[in-house]
Point group: D2
């Protein structure tokens, strides 16, 4: 059965497995201090046009969000996120386990409602001034995902507005890039150097983008220290750190990361076209690899015998919201099979 449940069901791009096999018996020094990591970091810095950025490789998304955000906050400081933000919903309270509040603001289609954010900051600053800042969690960072958990994208203008609000209120801007390759492949007006210029810290996801696992955190703001000691203390300093370096070295070579992103988006658009043609309503207009549709229940029941996908929630008595994802590995043949199944 073909499956479109999520974008981390396959292994790794064949070039990665090939390279791992090639160097399997090489003896490589540990903890990410090897030449593969050095080379991959250099390529990432170049792609971002941030020659001074600090790049660190971590294993997974929750780990990355937690460590990066913890590096930015102190004591009674918190991080603002959309109510639907991954750190607010799906990370089992990892940020709170580091001692920090996630301050939820309203979201539209997964994106922070920027007007609401601005109003909240103005109101809370006034309240803090009146009552005393020491009674409150003081916001110190904004978490935004690109693309969001619903596949949507901030426009360049929206990112610039976020940046400007962050500057005004002394907040760091952190961008969760678990699916960054899909986001930038679909973005109309944002590219990596722009994003790297606007964010204080962000990451390029590997797990969902052709690696077995791994995320590359890019610390653009030199005032933020995402130290190796913090990484180690959180159990996130991989002994064979070169596994991460090797993977990102390959992904960052000859534009592979971006090509993988484009493939997923291309296949998603084909999928989307079919679903729309079938007369099913798009739940959210996502330009990226995650597609959300509202499908009649009988169609859901028939389809799920042939195709894997995720049930999100009941839309009404007769319809269900579902998610179908493509990935870097999705083939045209798989999309054809889906089209046939939809009928």
């Amino acid at each position: 059965m073909i499956s479109f449940n999520c974008d981390y069901m396959e292994g790794a791009h064949p070039l990665i497995l090939e390279r791992l096999a090639q160097i399997n018996t090489q003896k490589i020094s540990g903890y990410g201090l090897d030449e593969y990591c050095m080379r991959a970091k250099e390529k990432i810095r170049a792609a971002c046009r941030r020659p001074q950025a600090d790049v660190q490789f971590l294993v997974g998304g929750t780990q990355t969000n937690t460590i990066a955000i913890d590096a930015m906050l102190r004591h009674n400081e918190g991080v603002i996120a959309a109510t639907s933000g991954h750190i607010n919903v799906h990370e089992a309270g990892a940020i709170e386990a580091c001692g920090h509040k996630v301050m939820a603001v309203p979201a539209t289609l997964g994106k922070i409602d920027i007007d609401a954010l601005e109003n909240l900051l103005a109101a809370s600053t006034a309240e803090f001034d009146a009552v005393g800042w020491e009674h409150y969690v003081v916001p110190r960072a904004v978490y935004a995902s690109f693309p969001t958990e619903y596949g949507t994208l901030y426009t360049l203008e929206e990112l610039r507005r976020l940046r400007s609000i962050c500057d005004r209120y002394h907040l760091y801007l952190y961008v969760d890039g678990a699916r960054m390759g899909y986001g930038l492949a679909a973005a109309e007006d944002v590219d990596l150097p722009q994003l790297a210029q606007l964010a204080d810290v962000f990451y390029l996801g590997g797990t969902k983008m052709g690696a077995l696992f791994g995320e590359a955190v890019v610390v653009c703001n030199p005032n933020i220290s995402l130290s190796r000691g913090l990484i180690k203390q959180r159990g996130a300093l991989l002994a064979k750190g070169w596994l991460l370096g090797v993977q990102f070295d390959i992904l960052m070579t000859d534009g592979l990361y971006w090509e993988l992103g484009r493939n997923a988006v291309r296949q998603a658009m084909k999928m989307r076209k079919t679903l729309v043609a079938k007369g099913w309503a798009s739940y959210i207009d996502s330009p990226t690899n995650q597609q959300f549709f509202v499908i009649p229940n009988e169609s859901v029941n028939r389809l799920k015998t042939q195709v894997g996908f995720d049930i999100i929630e009941a839309a009404d008595a007769n319809h269900t919201v579902v998610r179908l994802c493509t990935s870097w590995a999705t083939t045209s043949a798989q999309i054809e099979e889906l089209i046939d199944a939809i009928g």
Copy 2:
């Protein structure tokens, strides 16, 4: 100038200062293991009709909420509170600093919207079942304040509904009783034994109720261990713990605690009557010692030269929401002075 800003501006009931002076040179053993503490605990257990309850004395409200809630939670468990709940807004992220998420639910007049709570729990349980509980913060306790931060009170029926929801979803019910004496003095159908039967843990506030400082936590559910080791570790085990025992011993003798509560409520009702007679709108119908009114700005400006009170927020261009509090120490003369000032 008379002041109605809050209910913790005075020292202590004279009987307390008198007793402290009497025993000042007695040598009393430390850390709350003295006879004053023993006696006060016994009186509290008797007043609650919970002879088996564990009673612990702590110094302040944020400390008490934090330690009590931390005692109830484990790893990725969280506590539900009204959006306006003290732990969600005014405690500088103390719960999060212990590693736990405060899960905000909508509130009406300071009280948890019980329907919203029920819907949230039903929905999130379904979502957790579908996606996997390990990805979420699992609610494990409900925080309710009695009276609330807006002076309002849950009815007995509402408390019973909360209890029943807690039972259904395996949640502890924790009641913040910083102003418990004012709440029970005003409550129409809730008394202390009922509250002690419904809550797993609650506290009887002293700081705002005639003590110099101090809160008495009552742990009714024997499965919850609010250990002295936890208290010590959090810097909350007072060396001269007998200071707390002496104060609660006096407050719990001859119904003093309840009399102090009734005084504040009586004076608040006189104040309320005057404000209403003046034609000012009540912002919230509070039966307890905190009164919230919407007052024309020119009246605010005039009044504040004679009377201390708290500005809450602008109601509209011409009106302001203010808070006036009575306390255990408020005298009829002070209320007369306020009435004169209002004119």
Copy 3:
């Protein structure tokens, strides 16, 4: 029965109780922003000759140590203490509960063995350089108590050596002054301004020095932020903060704090003379208010029917190490009674 078990068994100096009674019905604003606190802070800064120092009032010793040390450390940084240091032994892991390791170094008579400290730092720095700092807890502060848990005192030269080591290894020097008044009363060559010049942060204890409770933290190093937000978050921002201000205001007026210290030391020296004259061996040569002696078991058994004191440990089959403490409140009559009891 007279008692010499510890130095926090009495209430407060009568002047404090008197003042509290005087202002009991005054309405004073909360959270330590009142004039009493302001005045007390000013007096402390003057006594320390540190006009720029930040002074904060907290409730108890463990709370103070924990918050002050947490303010100095980040992520994988730790604090060095003598094996017998209070934070290493008697605070229920409060520092660890904030996420930081207490790094124990050998101690002699309660004092850090400075040679051992120096060797440890040299060796560990070399090891960290070789293996990588990220694998270790990096020492960032030294905790020293003055006087120590055994009543002993660092000399000025020893404090200077500690300071110089701290400078060399980029460590903060934190001095636990729970009994500072007794220490400075007994010190041959250290005074408060000197101590305030050498330490980055220290505190003047009140609980054991004539206050009902309370400790005054003095932050001399402006790079350390012991913020009110941190204090609040840890449940340590007293609602009636003026209780602390009033007490320290009195203690810091007309040299009362120092006079109380001298009284305890004077009485302790009388006690000591008697014990020595009796032929009992001093366990530790303490010049301060805590005296440790090795006493024949039969004498222990006889004495304890008349006098309260603490059993520390068995010295050998026939002798016991005991502790007898004087305090700010110890009277000559009590010492006479002790002398009679010793016989």
Copy 4:
């Protein structure tokens, strides 16, 4: 240049890479709920003869130690470890970052000095009883590594003594098995079922034993909940959890894990024999894959141009302690090359 620096320098056993390549395009569900993980867990339970044990796969050693120990402790409880234990020295304070003290006891050749442990527990229990348990960190678990950081092994009798002490003092016994395969290959009288019967929790290391990465925690004591929620919260729930299942499935098939262990030990014994024959002194008599020798400095300097190894410390002015490790991947040819280099 051949390298014997450590045992995590190679990739994975070829069978693992082969299998990963085979299933690379299969779509496998996430978070360790797949059939590979199920199968690997079953094999581990069978090998341990603990059909009811809970098995969880994690990514690395520090992460595993931290999460397993955190699952065992509450508030002011701590874990006892040898001074040289990995959690006490080389994990950047990861246990403390979870709020718990590592309580160091003296060690001999990396092993807990069991007499010292017993004395410490007896003494501290007496002290806690006298002063009050709430002032202390209460030991609740013992951490022992098998083999230790110095390659040594507890005998069955020693493990039984540890177990019996743990039973007497209500402690959990946790065994760090980062190199378990090497330990059991070398052990004279301990096998896996025995170890699984004595420990409450332990892990079978994969990272150093033929896997790319991964550790398998075995929770034998059903009272300990090492929940998936805790794992997720700590950023340790691998999205492609099947990567761990596949690797342990292969390692646990046809005794591969044990064969890899025996190879490393066999090669280490050849190495050892050569070093001894050369006249160099063994620093520690290790029967496992880590060999520590004291070598004349001129030999160190000569050797290090041809062979990689770790410098541990200066033994004296003319000698250096070095470590040479074999691994699952060490070949006889590599050992021959080493022998030639030693000359």
